[in-house]
Symmetry: C2
Subunit: 203 residues, 2 copies
């Protein structure tokens, strides 16, 4: 067989990535299989390993796109009053997560094999999302030390993420989007009110 150079390696890489992403979106990452990808793009399994080292590598590249999109959406949140801004970030995050649930979920639920070392470029994309949140905390409390600010941002964002995950993972009849959005508002607004009033953002 061996179709010689019908597509460049670059092209094949893109085809694999797109096909894999589509499978994840439509069926969830548990349904992502090499044979299914190969079938979809009209090549055989072996070809996938010409352009990706292994499944973990492929999944990192799918996640990279997801993380870039999330970061881009968060960047678009208007610079306004810092507290409004943080609320908007949380709602934007929820909005993306609910509309792109399978992709979003893979970022946090797929477990890379024990030996996998996370490349710097990937870690950077993970961090980028969080840094947007931290930037708003810097605006909210400019006097605050970086340590305290990071801590507060981590606490709140861990919370926002947790609410999204617990709520969206359940059946739609047990929780609807409006309830989740309200929970988020509740968490963010009350946390910020408490944080600003307290002394933990000063010295």
């Amino acid at each position: 067989m061996a179709r010689r150079s019908e597509h460049s390696l670059e092209k094949i890489k893109a085809m694999v990535l797109n096909a894999a992403e589509t499978i994840v979106i439509e069926e969830g990452f548990l349904s992502l299989k090499t044979r299914k990808i190969a079938m979809e793009i009209g090549y055989t399994v072996g070809s996938i390993y010409m352009v990706f080292a292994n499944m973990a590598d492929l999944i990192m590249h799918i996640n990279a796109r997801t993380l870039d999109t999330i970061a881009a959406q968060l960047e678009q949140v208007q610079d306004g009053a810092a507290d409004q801004c943080i609320e908007a970030l949380a709602q934007t995050y929820l909005s993306y997560a609910s509309q792109n649930f399978n992709r979003w979920r893979m970022v946090f639920e797929y477990r890379f094999p024990q030996n996998t070392d996370i490349p710097a470029w990937y870690q950077q994309k993970l961090d980028a999302v969080f840094e947007r949140v931290e930037a708003s905390f810097a605006q909210l409390a400019p006097e605050c030390t970086e340590y305290r600010r990071k801590q507060a941002a981590q606490a709140l964002w861990g919370g926002v993420h947790g609410i999204c995950m617990l709520s969206l993972a359940e059946k739609p009849d047990r929780s609807n989007i409006n309830d989740v959005a309200e929970s988020l508002t509740l968490l963010v607004r009350n946390f910020l009110r408490g944080w600003i009033a307290s002394s933990s953002n000063r010295y």
Copy 2:
């Protein structure tokens, strides 16, 4: 071969459960394999299916123990001032999660196959943990409607859970337990301060 009735089915079920739990604790649920369990207890793979329907069934029973332990630990938290109580619940939860990370993680990260229906007794154990938190919210704001109370409890507990997961999933050098405990305190204390001050707990 066929060792006749050396152990009762009850006994074998307990042996499978214990062996499986040990593997999860020591190596994580990704390392849980039927052949490994069988080897450990001195039977063959087929025997596991005499006492559990399949992997999902077995894992539910391991998770059941984990959830019972968590619920028991939360029950032990003293009835004191409601806000102190909620803070203690969060710290207790973190404490269990960090000391029993692999078991705790499996409850939330193992994905049951598409068709699996969650039995009522399992859902009940999942709910029990949350109900302990909700009870403290009832003490904190007795006038509050059940809907508002549930919502607040869900928001805060989603947050507590999210902080634990994001923090503990990372490498120990990137986050230590003391930092996480501080984040939790920050979240709970500020959220409660904000919630009590606001009107969302009344009408």
